[in-house]
């Protein structure tokens, strides 16, 4: 099973309480540019919520140092000690959920901690679980395919 942050755009009113909670927790400041969840104003009072779906795992496959791994609960995590800051993961993320901040030496992303869920006044956010998919397995299959032959 994969734990993830479930987003319901239709309920979002753009109050930005979620981005404030996220950046405060991880960067000790209120700054939407340092939030792992993003709220994008698409006009007409509508908002698009963006956060990692924990499922595609392209970043896990792309990371040259294996700083990005999948935790037991299915969440994609970054080990800052192993990260060399190349930002290849930011480029391969298909939805822009892998984030970076200019001059910060490593990327950051949603780890489904739920701090934003508590702050959302409209119940647009929830911590949920979903099944593994062929895509979510691919990173492990790629590694298994190149495992060194026994001598």
């Amino acid at each position: 099973m994969i734990k993830y942050l479930k987003l319901d755009d239709s309920k979002c009113v753009g109050c930005m309480d979620c981005t404030a909670a996220c950046s405060l927790l991880y960067f000790k400041e209120e700054n939407p540019a340092k939030s792992a969840i993003q709220v994008q104003d698409v006009g007409n009072g509508k908002f698009l919520l963006v956060a990692c779906d924990q499922e595609c795992r392209k970043c896990v496959m792309e990371c040259p140092t294996q700083a990005i791994t999948v935790a037991k609960n299915g969440v994609v995590m970054i080990n800052k000690n192993l990260c060399v800051g190349c930002l290849a993961c930011v480029a391969v993320c298909p939805i822009g959920a892998m984030r970076f901040y200019p001059g910060l030496g490593y990327p950051f992303k949603c780890i489904a901690c739920g701090v934003c869920v508590k702050e959302c006044p409209k119940d647009a956010l929830a911590i949920a679980e979903k099944e593994e998919s062929p895509q979510s397995h691919q990173w492990a299959e790629v590694i298994a395919a190149v495992a060194k032959d026994k001598e």
Partner: protein, 721 residues
């Protein structure tokens, strides 16, 4: 012997040094190691050295110049191997930023060679505190140099007598031995060679990187010019560097956020465009195979032809299936172009490791072409097996391919036979025969040793010992200055002939690859345009070697709107990226014109290095005729329409009234005259005399006014050297 620990190495000498962070892309010191006298010393980098020579290949050439005499031979103790990085090298954001430049006096050419190589060694050496490493002297025992960039420790160690030499075993063992634990394996990089490099001037150096997914080492090659032979002659077994702690700004950039921005911009361009352009991320450089075959440019049977109906058997889609997919196969962190692919679980069919399953690095285009169609080999397994053994024995696949194709042609022409080869069948296409040459070489068998001497030596040998026709041997031994030509057919592209043979080190495509511009797109119709291209592109490409960069992310990926710019061949947006990247790291402003000037200084210095050693004359810049036109009648017949047309339209004769011998002769005269005119135009554009010497005025104009350069130019012009 399968495992070894650090306690197995006796310490010959050791020295501690002060750790200092890299600032603005420089350490401002280099490391000098003499393996003969066991001296270890730091040398400061002066502001003049930085201003005039920039870094990388520039530093390598300057240090080698100062360390040697004009008469120094490749195997004299004072010859050096210099590994130098450059200010941009090691940043983790901009794709293609992990290259080291290796410089030495070449056993093949007797002049400086420079080779551009990936792997983790260079960046780790830089973060350990040095802009370059000089290796001088000759050891009396098998020696390993170990640098611990976290401890500030340099050791010369004695290698146990039974430690293997072949890279795929040695580099793996040393990585395991010098890493502190499993997590530390990626922090170790090894430079090694192989048993072939001990006996052959085609010997190369392998630079390792640890691949966490495959849980084994991979290697990239400093292939050209026999530096591995120098390495083994010094009884250097390996170099090992360990550095833990690489991060986004290990390079000490002035503006790390700008480095990040530029890198991310190119990452995104690659992710979006690569599938629509060169498919590097899936096929690596082997994507070129069918393109080259389609355009009659893929060397086939020792460059006799450029095409064969069997071409599709080794096309890119064949390689894509064999190469493991979806891996971040860059040769340094942050290279999303990721061309360093590998074939996993490859079972060897010949040699000492027969039956074992191995991981084969590559094949890159040059290898796939050189030991493939150029030997008339269309079996991907054969190409991979030759690739693997060349790498682990420490033999350059380009030189080996060109040398073996020469031998196969000698076999076809009846100049050599099975008695001479020790039973090896060198019929076209017999890759097992080619593999046997490699195995015989490392076992010290006579023909293997002879075959490992390279084309220039062999061509002279065939005349002397086998009674071969001297002109024919000269024509078909594809080398310039002693270095084997790399794998593009240059016959129909005058600009590419210049790109190969008007080079400082010999015919290597990294200086000028103009074949597409000239032939396919017809962008260089006049001598002046060709000369301008033969000025701009070698200078521009030299800059990668000054900075520690790879050329591929410059034009093997292009912005989607690149064609809208004036001069799209230069990829103007990427040129600006490089200027901005240089500024973001060093803090120094740089324009595209300033970039060319940096290169021009070092390029001219390298020319003067050749001159100092008695070379660098106009006559040294001429190609063997096979690189220019058809040598044999059947080559003519294969493209009769093309050549007849040229005789009719360009030469003004009627081919129908001529014998094939006459036709070959007039084509040859015409083409060599064309080449002569090209040399005039290029020398003029480069600010050189008609004998190819940079003039003192030109050197002053471009700011390469260091005394040794001016003195050398004056001495040549006055006829003293």
């Amino acid at each position: 012997m399968n495992t070894i620990t650090r306690s197995n190495f006796a310490i010959l000498t050791e020295q501690h040094y002060e750790l200092r962070p890299v600032k603005r892309g420089y350490n401002m010191r280099t490391l000098y190691v003499n393996v003969g006298t066991r001296t270890i010393a730091e040398k400061p980098v002066s502001e003049t050295m930085k201003a005039k020579f920039v870094g990388g290949k520039g530093f390598g050439l300057k240090l080698l110049w100062d360390a040697t005499q004009p008469s120094t031979k490749w195997n004299d103790p004072e010859n050096e191997i210099v590994i130098a990085m450059g200010p941009i090298c090691g940043n983790t954001n901009y794709p293609g930023s992990g290259k080291s430049l290796v410089v030495s006096l070449s056993p093949l050419t007797d002049i400086p060679i420079d080779s551009n190589v990936g792997g983790f060694f260079g960046p780790y050496l830089k973060f350990s505190g040095f802009d370059a490493l000089e290796l001088q002297g000759k050891s009396d025992r098998e020696t390993i140099l170990f640098i611990d960039g976290n401890e500030g420790l340099i050791q010369l160690l004695e290698a146990p007598a039974d430690l293997p030499t072949d890279t795929h075993i040695l580099a793996e063992m040393l990585t395991q031995a010098f890493a502190r634990d499993e997590k530390d394996l990626q922090n170790v990089s090894v430079v090694s060679s192989g048993r072939g490099a001990e006996v052959s001037p085609l010997g190369l150096l392998n630079f390792s990187l640890y691949d966490k997914r495959r849980k084994s080492i991979r290697v990239k090659q400093a292939g050209r010019g026999g530096i591995g032979h120098v390495f083994r002659d010094k009884k250097l077994k390996a170099l090992v560097v360990r550095y833990a702690g690489t991060n986004q700004n290990s390079n000490g950039a002035v503006n790390p956020a700008e480095v990040q921005r530029l890198g991310l911009k190119l990452h995104r361009e690659i992710i979006v465009n690569d599938d629509l352009q060169t498919k590097m991320r899936r096929q690596g450089t082997a994507h070129l195979m069918e393109v080259m075959n389609d355009y009659d440019l893929l060397p086939t049977k020792n460059h006799r032809y450029g095409q064969d109906p069997r071409g599709p058997e080794v096309a890119s889609w064949v390689w894509e299936k064999l190469l493991s997919q979806h891996l971040p196969d860059g040769c340094w962190y942050g290279c999303t172009l990721a061309c360093a692919h590998a074939v996993d679980h490859f079972e060897l069919q010949t040699g000492p490791y027969k039956g074992q399953k191995v991981c084969v690095d590559g094949p890159e285009y040059e290898t796939a072409a050189g030991v493939g169609p150029n030997l008339y080999v269309y079996d991907p397994h054969g190409i991979l097996e030759l690739n693997f053994y060349c790498d682990t024995y420490g033999i350059d696949t380009i030189s080996f391919g060109t040398t073996t194709s020469f031998l196969m042609e000698c076999w076809e022409l009846g100049i050599i036979d099975a008695e001479f080869t020790g039973g090896i069948d060198l019929s076209w296409g017999n890759w097992k025969g080619a593999a046997q040459i490699l195995h015989d070489m490392v076992e010290g068998k006579p023909f293997g040793l002879l075959a490992g001497k390279g084309t220039k030596f062999l061509a002279e040998y065939m005349v002397r010992e086998r009674g071969a026709d001297p002109q024919l041997m000269k024509d078909i031994a594809l080398n310039g200055k002693g270095l084997e030509q790399s794998q593009y057919i240059s016959k129909e592209s005058l600009a590419q002939q210049g790109g190969y043979y008007l080079t400082n080190k010999g015919p290597q495509h990294d200086e000028a690859w103009l074949i597409f511009m000239d032939m396919v797109n017809n962008h260089l119709p006049t001598f002046e345009k060709k000369a301008e291209a033969l000025h701009y592109f070698p200078m521009f490409r030299t800059w990668f070697g000054l900075q520690g960069l790879c050329k591929l992310p410059w034009n093997d990926i292009e912005p989607a709107d690149n064609h809208k710019y004036p001069e799209p061949n230069k990829v103007p947006e990427h040129v600006q990226n490089y200027c901005d990247l240089y500024t973001a790291i060093t803090g120094e402003p740089l324009t595209p014109e300033g970039l060319i000037l940096q290169s021009e200084r070092v390029y001219n210095f390298q020319r003067l290095f050749n001159i100092r050693r008695g070379y660098g004359h106009r006559k040294d810049d001429y190609p063997p005729y096979r690189a220019v036109g058809p040598v044999l009648a059947d080559e003519y017949y294969a493209r009769q329409e093309r050549y007849d047309k040229q005789i009719r339209e360009k030469i003004g004769l009627d081919p129908s009234a001529m014998s094939v011998e006459e036709k070959l002769r007039v084509i040859r005269e015409y083409r060599m005259k064309q080449y002569d005119s090209l040399v005039d135009a290029v020398f003029e554009r480069r600010g050189w005399t008609m004998d190819g010497c940079p003039t003192p005025e030109h050197l002053r104009k471009i700011g390469m006014d260091v005394p040794e350069a001016i003195e050398t130019a004056e001495a040549r012009i006055a006829g003293r050297i």
